[in-house]
Structures are given as structure tokens and as C-alpha cells.
């Protein structure tokens, strides 16, 4: 509702002067749905934005060993870069191990992040099927999904992450 408080006075101003034309040059180029679908890689926790396609744990194991393992280690641990698996149940301890599996509240974040940013040396080079598959493989290591899981736009948002209830939203800032 707050947006109306901001926009109404601007509209009123337009009626009485030409100032609004200077304030709103309206020079943006209208976009077609096709153009947007090519650009939009945002995936929300409810699954909106997930593309067509699917991937199994076994297909993901192949993608992982070829494209991820040299940095992240066998089964997501012991590599030179970030640990991806393990740490489940440690978050409330003195030595929390924050991994995508132990800490991240939604499985969609793994898909979203891998698709936009991984592998580090060739981001956005994976197919949607490969991203579904490697997400399934990472989640299978700590048995968040079963060995025979196939993830797609319908099943991925339903994956229950171990720390799904671990976050307290701090916006809007709670009153003291």
C-alpha cells in the first residue's frame, strides 16, 4: 500500500504541469515475454522460475565427477573449495558446519546458484537437466533425497531441507 502514497502526489503533479514529463522521460524499451524468458534465471523457494527439464541422482553423479569434484572433493567434501555436504545437525552447536545441505533453508537455492554461477571457470555452461541432476546428487549424499530421486520443477521445491525452519526473517525490522 505504501507505493500509492508515493505515486499519487506525482500523478497529481502531472495534471497541473509538464514537470512530470521531465521526471518521467519514459525512454525504456518495452520487452517481449520471449526476451524476458531468455534473461530470467531467478528461482524462488516456491519453485516459481524453475525451467522445464529434470535430472536424476545417477546422472548428477556423472556431472559432478566431471565438473565439480576437482574443486569440491569427492561427495562434496575434502576439496580445495567450499564444502557442499555434511554438517547436518551441527548448526546449533559450538562448531557449526555451514554447508548448502546443513544450513540453506531451500533446495531451490542450490539450483539457482549452480545454474547462474557454477562451474567457477565456465559459469552458465550447464544445461537445465544437468543443473537438476547435480542438485539431486548433492542432496542425495546426506540422504535428503533418495538414491532414485529425479528432480524437476515440481519435485525440487518440495524437498525438505534439514534447516528449513532455521531462519528468522528480520525485514521489516522487528520493533523493540
Amino acid at each position: 500500500m505504501f507505493m500509492f502514497r508515493i505515486f499519487l502526489p506525482a500523478t497529481a503533479l502531472c495534471l497541473i504541469s509538464s514537470v512530470c514529463e521531465a521526471q518521467h522521460p519514459n525512454l525504456g524499451r518495452p520487452l517481449t515475454p520471449e526476451e524476458i524468458s531468455k534473461l530470467d534465471i531467478t528461482v524462488a523457494p516456491d519453485g516459481s522460475g524453475l525451467p522445464a527439464g529434470s535430472g536424476s541422482v545417477s546422472a548428477g553423479a556423472n556431472v559432478y565427477s566431471e565438473k565439480c569434484q576437482s574443486c569440491h572433493g569427492a561427495r562434496g567434501q575434502g576439496g580445495p573449495q567450499d564444502q557442499l555436504t555434511g554438517g547436518v545437525g551441527t548448526i546449533a552447536s559450538e562448531k557449526p558446519v555451514k554447508t548448502p545441505v546443513s544450513y540453506w533453508p531451500s533446495a531451490t537455492t542450490i539450483f539457482d546458484y549452480v545454474r547462474r554461477a557454477m562451474p567457477l571457470q565456465s559459469p552458465q555452461s550447464l544445461t537445465n537437466d544437468e543443473v537438476y541432476a547435480v542438485t539431486a546428487y548433492i542432496l542425495s549424499i546426506d540422504k535428503i533425497v533418495p538414491e532414485d530421486a529425479v528432480l524437476d520443477a515440481k519435485s525440487l521445491p518440495q524437498v525438505k531441507m534439514p534447516n528449513r525452519d532455521g531462519f528468522v526473517r528480520w525485514w521489516p525490522v522487528p520493533k523493540r
Binding site: H24, G28, R29, P30, Y103, P105, G166, W171
Partner: protein, 435 residues
Amino acid sequence: MERHDRVKNDRTKVGALAGGATARDGFDRRTLLRAGIFVAGIAGIGSGIAQAAESIGADAPEWMKAPGRSFSTYGVPSKWQEKVQRAIAFPPGRPGTGSSRTPLHLLEGTITPNGLHFERHHNGVPDIDPSRHELVIHGLVKRPLAFSVETIMRYPMESQIHFVECSGNSGSFNQPEPQQTTAGGLNGLLSCSEWTGVRLATLLGEAEVTREAKWVVAEGGDAAAMSRSVPLEKCLDDAMIALYQNGEAIRPEQGYPMRLLLPGFEGNMNVKWLRRLKVMDQPVNARDETAHYTELMPNGKARQYMFLQGVKSAIIKPSFGMNMKGPGSYEVSGLAWSGSGRISKVEVSADGGKSWAVAALTAPVLSKALTRFRLAWQWDGRPSTLMSRATDEKGEVQPTRSAWVSQYSPVQFYHFNGIQGWRIEADGTVKHVYV
């Protein structure tokens, strides 16, 4: 000719003043000035006698006895300042994913030179061709729009001075022992610039966000396509599409050709190389708002979407590496800032927090900008502990380090804003201490 003579006369005077300044202290400034002129008078008489035999520049430095170098197309700092550099750190094998820190301890004032603004990248600095870059606004809008760089340049602009601080700045304060490093090493993921650009509200107004809209997901055009969820409320308030930094086009390290600027919000959200804004009814749990930049508490719960940088200050002078040259007069100075508004007060203690004195704030004191505080200090040569404590216009007071640490899990280091301290030893060395 007349003007030339005047310049020459002024130079004589300056030289004389420099000679006068070598005199023992104990004089006040006015006395010193008079003494200097007096010496100049005598020196003038003396040199008049000697001039017959010797050129007048015999004792002048070499840079006064030969022409200086020609002009430069883009100036660089003096070679004598070559140690004033950012300190770079990145994980092995990932040269594009670390950070570099502003050397706060080697700078003065409040504006960070563009080449020294801190950096935090997630997969390197992209080399974006502005003629191929567009900012796209879509999602819960009536009219999805794309703006070329050239187009955005035609919109009404504004300039605002604001700090940007990484959410992980001063993160080493969560360690059990104080890190012995410079003020810039501790707090240098912090910079302040004059940003010029277009209000985001103007562009969102043209796209016409719908009634369901609550969040805007911003995405960068880098090789990490770094993305963050921003409350729509902030986007319609003081958010800016920044195109210029301190008068010149934003540097590649800061988001060329454009970045999102969210005054007072954690650095990571000020998405660089901004290419896309998706208006949504929900935040997206982007990697950097789940894996990072959350606040893990001892009970295992984590605060998420904590955006405001807390009220904070740090003494920059003296600090680690700037040892005292014996008892006497010193200026204690430092920086204070708050993500919620203006700094209203900075207090300084020299006795570890037993007593506090109010420091002077150097004008202008701007909202969500670095503020310089200063206080004259007579050091008696005894061991002392210097601390600073800032209060902002909302009445928020900088907490103690122990109060800050006790709220969180031992691994928590984001958003540290506790009080910092420097121990001055009797021999003048300056050590980092927890207070």
C-alpha cells in the same frame, strides 16, 4: 610582471616561515608567524650581501632548479605515496572471489579515492561493453522495460554522499584474540563516495509495479550473476542506479557501467554491474542471503534479511603501526557511520572507558555517510587505552564488543559494530586490544 613578482615574494615568505617552524616549541602560532617574518627580514639583508658571488638557488632543492615534468592525461598519486594501496586477500585458486581493503589508516577526510575503494567480487571483475549493456526491469510490473546505458544517462540525476560497507567488515573481532593489524586491515571493507545516478523509484514508476509487489531481486552482470532480494520499500525510497563515483564513471571494480546503491544497507546488496531487476512478491533466498550475510545465534536460529549496517566508529589515528613520538599533544581522529542516518555524537575515552569526552565532528555530517571525528589529546606518556563510541540520530549507541559477541554463535562475524580499542604502551607502541 607584477603578478609574477607577487608570487616570488610569497615564496620568500613561505621559505622564511618554514625556517621559523624549526624553532623550539612553546611559541603559540601567532608568535611563530611574527618571529618568522622577523627572520626573513634579517635573511634578506644577509643574502643581499652574499649574492654577488653565488647564485641565489645554491641552497634550493633540486626540484626548484630545473623544469618539472609535463602534463598527464590522467594523474596518479606522488611516487612518495606508493605504499598507499589496497590490501588484497583471496582464497587459493580463486583470484576473483576475495576482497581488497581500503587503507583507511593512510587516508584522511571522509571521501575514498576511487582507486582505493574496497572491493569484494564473487567471480572477478567483468569487462562490460556499455554499448551492449542493458538494465532490465520485469516481473510484477505492468510494463517490462529495458534501459540502455545511453538511455539512463538522459534521466534526471542526483548526487549523494554515502558509505558502502561490506557485511563482513571487521569480522576478525569474533576471534578470541585481537588481530594485530592496522585500522584499515581491521575495518577497510568500508569506503565512502559521492554517487551520482538516477533514482530507482523513477524507473520503477515507469514500469509500474503491481499491487502484489513486495521485493525486487537485483542481479549483476558478472560471472557470478550475483543476486540479492531487496525490499520494494527501499527501492522506492533512496535507492539509486549509480553511474558516477566522485565525478567520474564508476570504476569496473565498483560496477561499471552501473550499480545499485542502497544507502545504509549491507555492501553485498549494492549489486554491481547491475543488469536485471525482477519485481516479486517474495524474497528468493539467494545464496548470499542464506549461506552468507545471515546472523547465526547460539540456539541455531539465524536472522535473515538483516540489511541495515549498525552504528559504528573506529579510531584511525593513532592506531596499530603509528607509534607515538613521546608524551605531548596529539590529535585523536577516526571515522563514524550508521546505516540508519546521521551520526549525532562520538565519544572518546583514553582510560579504557572509565571517562568519555565528546569529540568534534568535522562538517558536513551527512546521513549514511562517513563522518570524521577529532579530539585534541595531551598524552602524558603513561599507558592508555583509547576507545570511541558512536551514537546516531535514531539514538542507537555502538555496543561493546562483548555485548555484540554474546548475541551470536561463535562462528558469526557478519555485521560487527562493537566498540574498538587501541592500547598505547609507555614506549609509544600502539597495540590492538579488546575493550
